[in-house]
């Protein structure tokens, strides 16, 4: 170390960022969908459970969730997700916390998607004898996802940038490498610019693609 930033360390750090973001995006999508279904279900208790989840995790700072996963969950409660390595445990907890946190936002984006669907769609599904689960799976969720691509895209982009918070628990992603580099080399504008450019490259094309996708897949009524 101490020889400054090399292309290979930079790529491996951003690789780690991408992996962290990809796994967390899948987790957040699954969790958020489940919570959204709870929130629109006809059962009062399940609705409350969904609302509670969103209110708790949407209003908690991500840094606090990250730190509590190590200091709270791992050290105090002894929940170690990878006993073979400290780095592995931190990485897995980062995936969990990013998923849990962004799941709340995915849920709300999806719920806004559900709200774009006219009431008649659900009524038609119910009146032909589909159960709640079948109406959700075949009629409401497909239309909700297509109506919510733009807000879901914003959540995904926020998630990619929020992976930098995982640096506080020592996950060696891009922001962590930046801190290490600054510590070794001293801070310079060029270092910030390199990392900023890295995130622009990750998020900008993605945003453009999602916008065009949301136009192409919009449900015509």
């Amino acid at each position: 170390m101490g020889n400054g930033l090399t292309i290979s360390t930079l790529l491996s750090a951003f690789g780690s960022t991408v992996l962290l973001a990809a796994l967390s995006a899948i987790g957040a999508l699954v969790l958020g969908t489940v919570v959204a279904v709870l929130r629109v279900s006809p059962v009062r208790v399940l609705q409350l459970l969904g609302t509670w989840y969103v209110n708790v995790f949407r209003n908690t700072p991500l840094t606090l969730l990250m730190v509590s996963s190590i200091l709270g969950a791992t050290f105090i409660l002894g929940i170690n997700l990878d006993p073979t390595s400290i780095k592995g445990n931190a990485f897995r907890w980062a995936v969990v916390m990013l998923s849990v946190y962004h799941g709340a936002f995915v849920c709300e984006a999806l719920r806004s998607g559900v709200n774009t669907i006219p009431d008649g769609q659900a009524e038609a599904a119910r009146s032909m004898g589909l159960t709640f689960g079948q109406s959700m799976q075949h009629v409401l969720l497909p239309q909700a996802f297509r109506g919510a691509i733009a807000p879901l895209g914003s959540v995904l982009i926020a998630l990619i940038k929020n992976t930098t918070v995982a640096a506080v628990i020592g996950v060696s992603e891009a922001a962590n490498l930046m801190q290490v580099t600054i510590e070794n080399e001293g801070s310079g504008l060029s270092i910030f610019l390199v990392f900023a450019l890295g995130f622009v490259i990750l998020t900008l094309p993605l945003g453009l693609w999602l916008t065009s996708l949301s136009r192409r897949l919009a449900v015509k009524r």
Binding site: P42, P118, G120, Q121, E123, A124, A125, R126, S127, M128, G129, L130, T131, Q134, H138, V139, P142, Q143, R146, V219, K220, R221
Partner: protein
Amino acid sequence: MTEPLVVLKGVNKHFGDLHVLQDINLSIGKGEVVVVIGPSGSGKSTLCRTINRLETFETGSITIDGVPLPEEGKELAKLRADVGMVFQSFNLFAHKTILDNVTLGPIKARKIPRAEAEKRAMELLERVGVAHQAEKFPAQLSGGQQQRVAIARSLAMDPKVMLFDEPTSALDPEMITEVLDVMVALAKEGMTMVVVTHEMGFARKAANRVVFMADGQIVEENTPEGFFTAPKSDRAKDFLGKILTH
């Protein structure tokens, strides 16, 4: 009247303070076509929606083929599969093709194999005259075509009774006939139908009975001819006077 298929006994429902269904008693026989008519806000659409429990009711009972309406859940879903419903605003699934709209119910609710469901769906689409549009999406069809697809979608479930909630009210005048023709043909084949409509031509041509509702009550029941030429109640005379004068 033939053996009763749908029986409503003492059904009451409120929307807040508004008593929308007041002690409704109605019996609909197998193969009977009942037209429900009345001023807006009279509760006729609510009555129609209550029969398959899209609207809940507070007191009274509704039975279909002798079976009382269950509460929410799988049992209710099973019962709804036997009751076809056609809406004012068609409500075709916007993200699915015409063919998929018609096969969804049979495949998922009836567990019929896809190939068989598609064959039957094409027959039904042929019958309502939109088979050549099977691969299109609902938004690409005219209102009249969409409503005929909606009828085919209901028929695909082989329902015991079909409910029509103002099926022609959202259509342009020149498309009303094509939908009514399909409905008249259905009636002639012996389908049990409850039709909320203002189409007197249809009532005269196909209905066995006209039920006149006002302010949440059934005011009068009569044959179509009897009702339109010699209404008994003042409320019905007043209503017919308003809609027949122009």
